[in-house]
Symmetry: C2
Subunit: 331 residues, 2 copies
C-alpha cells in the first residue's frame, strides 16, 4: 500500500491542512524505462502556494484529487533504466507519497550520501541552494564593499545567498522575523539583521545602509520592497526571487510605480526561476555549493517533521514562519 | 550682447513659456582653457521637464534665474584650448543662448558637417541616437523574429530604435499618435504602427503581438506600460528609457505591482541614461549611427523653429506632440 497526500481543495490564498487528504493507494507498478523508489525526505516549499492555485504560472496547477507535487529524495527499489540501480538515491519530483513510480526525466540529480545526508539535498544542495547560487552568479554583479539586502534572510534561500554574498566581500543586511535575527547574524553571517516588523524599519534601513542598497535580493515583494526601492543606490540590481508577502494576485495588487527609479537610478531588475534550464549554470552553481558544503563552509539548518501525514501542517508552519531551519518531512 | 532664455519659475508638471524669460546679457568672456562659441542649433528635449523641476534627479535642477540647460551645436569664435580652433563645430552643453563661454569638459563631441548638417548632430547623431543605439546594444539581446514594441515610436529615440531593431531582424510594433502612424510605418519601418489612444488598444496589441512582446522599449511608463506587462513573453526584456506619460512624481503614482511578472516570466527590466559614462559603449554606438547616416540608411526628420525666443514654445509643442520630426531651435 502506498500512502499519498492528495490535493482536495484550492486555497484562495495560503494552503492549509484543510486542502489536503491522506489517501492510501495501491503499490505503484514499474513504468517502462522508469523506476520505483521509496521516498526518504520530502520537500516543503513556499512555491507550493502557486502550484495549488487555480491559475497556471510557470507550472500547471496540481489537479484536484491528485498527489501533491513536491520535490523529494528517494531510494530506488526497482529500475528499468540501466543508469539506475537498486539502492541509488536521487533528488526529483517525487510528490508527497511513500513510494513513487517515476520516469528518469523527473529526476533532477543523483544524491551522494557521503557528501551530506539526504535532507541536505532538499535544501542547501537542492532547489534552495541552486536558486541562491544561480541567481547570485547570474544577476548580482557583486563588488566587494557593496551592500546587499536580503528579505527572508533566515529562510532556505536567504540564508545561503547571504553567505555567498559575504564570501564575495559584500556587506550583508538581512530582514527576518525578530526571533531569527540572532540566527541570521550569528550563523548565516549577516553583518546586520533587522526585524522586518520593526515599527521604524525605514529608519533602521537608513542606519544600516548609509550608502544605499546596491543589490536587493527580494523574496517577498510588496510593502517591504516599497521601502527598499527608494533606498537603492544608482546602478542597483534587484533580484526578484519570490513574492512571499503577497497572498493573492486576484485582484492584482497595486504599489508605487517603479519606472522613475528604474531610469533615474539606472537599475536592473531581474526575475528568475531556478528551474530555468541552463545546464551549464546549474552545474557551476551546484559545484560551488557542493564544495562549500564538503568544506563545512556553508551553514544550513533543518527541521524534520516525521510522518507523511505531517506534510500539510509543515506547509502551514512554513507560511507562518514557525519553522526553525529548512523544514522537511520524513515519510 | 548675448540673448539668453532664463528659467524664472518651476512648473508643477509640464514646463511652458510662462516659466521662461528672454534676457539680454553681456558678451561672455573667454574662460581660462575654455572657448567662446556661437550656437547654431539648440536642442529641445523631453528630459527638460526633469531638469527644471525642484527635485534633483540625475542632474541638479536648473537654478531659477539662470540660463536654461540644453545641448546644442556651436561654432568656436575664440579658443584658449589648443584642441579647438576658430570655426570648429562641437556638440555640448551650450544652454539656450546665442553665445556660450564653455569649458572643454562640457563638450560631448566634435561635429563633422561633411557627414550631416549641425541639426542632425542634435538628434540622430546626438543624444537621441546615442540613447537608442546604446540602450539597444546594451539591453535588447535581440534575436531575429522576436517582437519589439516601442512607445513614442515616431519620436526622436523611438524612430531610431525601431530602425535598429528592424535591421536586427525583429518584428517591430510602434505606438504613436494616430496622425503619426503612417510616418512610423512608412518612414521608420515599423511593421505595425498603433494609435496609442485607440479605445481598444488592448485588442490591437493582442492582434499585433500574437506571440507576446519580447522586448518592450518604453519611453512613457504609466497606463500604456500596464497594458504591455501582461503581454510580455517569458524571458522578455523591458528597457525603460523614459517616463513621458507620467506628468508628476509628487505624489508618487501607483500602478499594478510587477513582482509576479518579473519572477514568473523571468523578465529583465533595465533603466538607463545615455549620459552614463562608458566611453567604449558610446564610441561603438556613435560609430554605428555615423555609418548608417553616411550610407543614407537611417531615416530621420527635423522641424526647425527659428529664433531663440521660440525655444519655450518649442518645448511646449514637444510635450503636446505637435511637432513633426525632431524639433530644434535655430537661434
Amino acid at each position: 500500500m502506498n500512502r499519498q497526500i492528495v490535493l482536495i481543495g484550492r486555497p484562495a490564498a495560503i494552503p492549509g491542512p484543510e486542502h489536503f487528504e491522506l489517501r492510501t493507494g495501491p503499490e505503484p507498478s514499474l513504468p517502462d524505462n522508469g523506476l520505483i523508489a521509496e521516498t526518504v525526505a520530502l520537500s516543503v516549499d513556499p512555491a507550493m502556494r502557486g502550484w495549488v492555485s487555480a491559475e497556471a504560472n510557470y507550472l500547471q496547477p496540481v489537479a484536484l484529487g491528485s498527489v501533491m507535487r513536491s520535490l523529494g529524495v528517494a531510494r530506488v527499489l526497482k529500475s528499468a533504466d540501466p543508469d539506475w540501480n537498486e539502492g541509488d538515491l536521487f533528488y526529483g519530483w517525487t510528490g508527497w507519497q511513500d513510494r513513487v513510480a517515476i520516469s528518469p526525466e523527473a529526476i533532477l540529480w543523483r544524491v551522494d550520501e557521503s557528501l551530506a545526508p539526504p535532507s541536505a539535498w532538499l535544501s542547501v544542495l537542492g532547489l534552495n541552494g541552486l536558486t541562491a547560487a544561480k541567481g547570485f552568479a547570474a544577476f548580482a554583479r557583486a563588488k566587494p564593499g557593496e551592500t546587499m539586502l536580503v528579505t527572508t534572510a533566515a529562510g532556505g534561500v536567504g540564508s545561503i545567498v547571504g553567505q555567498l554574498a559575504k564570501r564575495s566581500g559584500m556587506r550583508t543586511v538581512g530582514l527576518t522575523s525578530a526571533s531569527k535575527c540572532d540566527l541570521a547574524h550569528d550563523r548565516y553571517g549577516y553583518d546586520i539583521a533587522l526585524d522586518y516588523r520593526d515599527v521604524d524599519l525605514a529608519g533602521a534601513l537608513d542606519v544600516s545602509c548609509p550608502q544605499g542598497v546596491d543589490i536587493f535580493w527580494d523574496n517577498v515583494g510588496g510593502e517591504i520592497a516599497d521601502l527598499i526601492f527608494p533606498r537603492l543606490a544608482p546602478g542597483g540590481r534587484v533580484i526578484q526571487c519570490g513574492t512571499a508577502s503577497i497572498p493573492s494576485w486576484s485582484p492584482w495588487p497595486e504599489g508605487p510605480r517603479r519606472e522613475r527609479d528604474m531610469v533615474v537610478k539606472r537599475l536592473t531588475w531581474s526575475g528568475f526561476l531556478a528551474f530555468d534550464g541552463d545546464d551549464h549554470a546549474n552545474e557551476a552553481a551546484l559545484a560551488t555549493l557542493r564544495s562549500l558544503v564538503a568544506a563545512g563552509e556553508l551553514n544550513h539548518d533543518e527541521q524534520c517533521m516525521v510522518g507523511l501525514e505531517q506534510a500539510p501542517a509543515a506547509l502551514a508552519a512554513l507560511y507562518q514562519g514557525q519553522n526553525s531551519g529548512r523544514i522537511w518531512v520524513k515519510p
